[in-house]
Every structure is written in C-alpha cells, then in structure tokens.
C-alpha cells in the first residue's frame, strides 16, 4: 500500500530548491519595500493624528481604525481586483503593464502595516515627557519644527524595536500575497507540493526559513534594546 516516502533531496538541491530560494527573495523584496513605505506613511499618519487641526486628526483616526480593523486578505483582494473601477483607464493600463501583482501586494501590506506603525510611533511620542515639547515651543520652535527636531528623533529611537517587529510581521503577512499569484515563499512551497506531492518536505523547508528569519530579527532587537536603549543595564 501507499506509504509516505520522505525525500528531503527535493528541497535541498535542484529545481525545487531554486524555486524556494526565489520565493524567499520575493518575500524579502516585498518586506523591504513595504517597511520603508509603511514607515513613511505611518510617520505621516502619526503626526496627523496628533495635529491640532480637527479634520486632519479625524482623517488620520479614520485611516487607522479602518485599516487596522479589516482583514489584510480582503485588502489585498480589494487593491488587486477591486481598485479597477476606482482608477481611470490610463492608470489601469499603466498598472497592468507593470508587475501589478507585486505592486498590489506591496500597497495592501504597506497601508495595513502603516496603520500599526503609526500607533507605535504615537506611543513612542507620548512616552517623551510633555515638558520637552513645551520647552521647545518656548525656545521659539513652531509645533512642526519641535516635532521634527526634538520629539520625533527621540520617539523614532524608542520606536525602532516595535518597527523591526513590524518588519517581521510584514514578512509573515506577505505570505497572503500568494492568493493573487505573487510567487513568494509560501506560494513556492505550495507549488513544490503540487508538482511533487511532497508537502511535508516543502512546508518544513519554508517553515524553517521563516523561523530563521524571525530568530535573527528577534536577536537583533534584543541587542538593540541592550546596547542602545538601556546601555547602563548591560
């Protein structure tokens, strides 16, 4: 009768190994591009969220609540399939001539992650004593300038560990991009499974790659916490 024959060679060398490696590269690409943009947008939203102008604050608030409380998968589907009716034809044609699967995944992941990053940055800012802002204002800095030169640089320093954590979340969440045909790590693992019927080996390989990624990144955060944030405790 059928007994499951383990065959680890398929994931350690040859064609299927190359598939998995190329999948990892795509995962890293999405995560890197994604984290840069979500940091920038997250920073912007965080500043808007703390603004004195009501409509600006409200917009940032609505943005945060909406994108954090909607599943990422639905957002990916929306940007890939649903955005079609919202953009004019010219933009659609241009998007389609590019690698739109990749772009849609990055857009969805960026917006989703930026909402979380904005909250991380905001709590970073809130942890800076209020007197600093008052001191900066009384020294003649405008609100935006005191944010830019005094508050944000400190807040970002505190925010780096959660930010790196968000990078890790991005890398993990990017597995959902397989649903729109982006050939990232999980997609390739599944592809290996459907070509070879060796699911056990393929998923073990992919799982190990994700684990190594998260162990390395967690270790980096740990080091940063010890060396930079709490140097005297080390």
């Amino acid at each position: 009768m059928l007994t499951y024959q383990f065959d680890w060679s398929i994931v350690t060398s040859g064609k299927y190994f190359e598939w998995l490696v190329s999948g990892l590269m795509v995962t890293l690409q999405i995560s890197t591009v994604g984290i840069v943009f979500s940091f920038l947008i997250g920073l912007l939203i965080a500043v808007m969220r703390m603004s004195h102008i009501r409509p600006v604050r409200w917009f940032a608030h609505a943005y945060l609540e909406f994108f954090r409380n909607t599943p990422l998968l639905v957002q990916i589907f929306f940007w890939y399939f649903g955005s079609y009716k919202i953009f004019p034809t010219v933009i659609n044609d241009w998007l389609n001539s590019t690698n739109f699967e990749f772009a849609a995944a990055v857009i969805a992941l960026t917006i989703y992650t930026s909402a979380f990053i904005a909250e991380d940055i905001r709590s970073g800012v809130l942890s800076i004593p209020k007197e600093q802002l008052e001191a900066a204002r009384s020294a003649g800095f405008s609100y935006l300038r005191s944010m830019q030169y005094i508050i944000l640089p400190q807040a970002v320093r505190i925010t780096i560990p959660p930010l790196v954590n968000q990078f890790l979340n991005l890398a993990k969440n990017s597995s959902l991009a397989m649903t729109i045909g982006v050939m990232e790590l999980t997609y390739q693992a599944r592809q290996v499974e459907s070509y070879t019927f060796k699911g056990f080996e393929a998923f073990t390989a992919a799982t190990l790659v994700y684990l190594v990624l998260s162990v390395v990144i967690t270790a980096l955060i740990h080091q940063y916490n010890i060396r930079v944030l709490n140097p005297h405790r080390a």
Binding site: N69, P71, F77, F78, F81, K85, T186, T207, S214
Partner: protein
C-alpha cells in the same frame, strides 16, 4: 464595465453573504466567520492560559520546550500553521473536517500570542502578593490560582478582546482551504458575477470593520472601566 459602482449584487446575494447555504446546507458567510472566531477564541483562552503558566515555570524541562514552542508558532505566518494542521491533524487523528482544521490552526496560533498576555499579566502582579499568600499557608499553585491569576486576569481582559478582534480578521484565511466563511463566500459570488469585484470587496471590508470596530471599542471601554475600579 461602466465605471459606476452597482451594489445590486450585494442585495441579490445578501442572505448568502450572511448565512451561506444554511439551513438546507452548512452555515457559511458572516455566521461561519463569527462561529470560527468564537470557538477558536474560547479554546485559545484555555490554551493561552496553560502555555502562559507553563512558560512561567521554574522547571527548565518545562520552561524551555514551552518557550520554544510559543516562539516557533509566533515566528511563522498563520497561513503556514493552517497548512501544517492540514497535514498533521489527519495523520494524527484520522479524518478532520476543514472547519475544525481551521479552528485548530487558529487556536494554536492565537494561544501562542495569548500566552504572552497571560505571562505579562501575571508578571505585573507584585511578587509580594505571592509571598504573602504562601506565608499564610497556601501552596504555590494555590497562591497562583486563587490570588495572583484573578488579579492578573483583570489586566488581561482588554488584551483578550483585542485578540478576539485579530481572530475575526484571521478567519478570512480559512478561505484558502475552502471553508465558506465571509471571504470565501465573497470570492464565490465575485467569481460567478465577474463584474462587481469593487462592490463586493468594499462590502465585506465594511462588514469586517463593523464587527472588529465594535469589539475594539468594547475593549477600550473595558480598559477604562477596569482602570477606574482599580483606582478605588
């Protein structure tokens, strides 16, 4: 495509969005989404509690394996956990319905995150409490169960509700293994009608938002209530 949004497709399929093939067939749509989230939430509450307490153990033979397990689960995408359950559960227990496969995957995944909440909640209670309890003659496990855990629970409740919100969002991944929850039902209708992806995905995004936002607000309200009572 005429470029205008036409929400007629939602009205036509509203019952299907809400309950799927129920009552003639299995429950689907929003009903199944809530069922998956609720059942997994209750199970992972217990799972998280057990893992969290074990991770606080002083016995290295318990502490290390449990901590490694928790971090391993937190280190991989939920999608991977679902695929694994898909392979392992039938191997271990024979036939398992997809709905249960997804519930198990969500439970294992969420338990790992909940255990961190439990751990932090317990560590937030001053050590003196345990010492005091033990000095009155309670055994360490009694001190944990009757003195520390009940106080820690109060701090944990808002975080638990937040995990429930994550669970509602995470149930959308059940779509990938063919469980007819809201996202799956939406792609079915999208595949059949083929002309209203924008309308359909906006609609289910709003449904998810309403569900999640209601619980997020509830969690904030709880947090305020609990903080107020503590102050007295």
């Amino acid at each position: 495509m005429d470029g205008f949004l036409n929400f007629q497709v939602i009205a036509d399929n509203f019952t299907y969005f809400m309950i799927g093939r129920f009552p003639e067939g299995p429950l689907g749509g929003v009903g199944l989404t809530l069922y998956l989230a609720l059942v997994s939430c209750v199970l992972s509450l217990f799972g998280g509690m057990i893992l969290g307490l074990l991770a606080l153990s002083k016995n290295r033979l318990i502490y290390y394996p449990v901590t490694i397990l928790i971090n391993a689960v937190r280190g991989v995408p939920l999608l991977m956990v679902i695929f694994w359950m898909y392979f392992l559960l039938p191997a271990l227990f024979g036939t398992v319905a997809e709905t249960n496969t997804v519930i198990m995957a969500l439970t294992v995944f969420t338990s790992a995150y909940m255990s961190q909440i439990v751990k932090a909640g317990i560590e937030g209670i001053p050590r003196g409490q345990t010492e005091a309890a033990i000095s009155t003659g309670l055994k360490p496990w009694q001190a944990m169960l009757y003195i520390v855990l009940p106080q820690g629970m109060r701090n944990m409740i808002p975080s638990f509700v937040n995990q429930f919100v994550s669970l509602i969002k995470d149930t959308s991944l059940a779509f990938i293994v063919g469980v007819s929850e809201l996202t799956h039902v939406a792609t079915q209708i999208n595949n059949r009608t083929m002309a209203f992806p924008t309308e359909i995905f906006i609609f289910i995004a709003v449904i998810y938002f309403i569900l999640c936002y209601a619980f997020t607000s509830f969690s904030r309200w709880l947090e305020e209530q609990l903080a107020w009572r503590k102050a007295i």
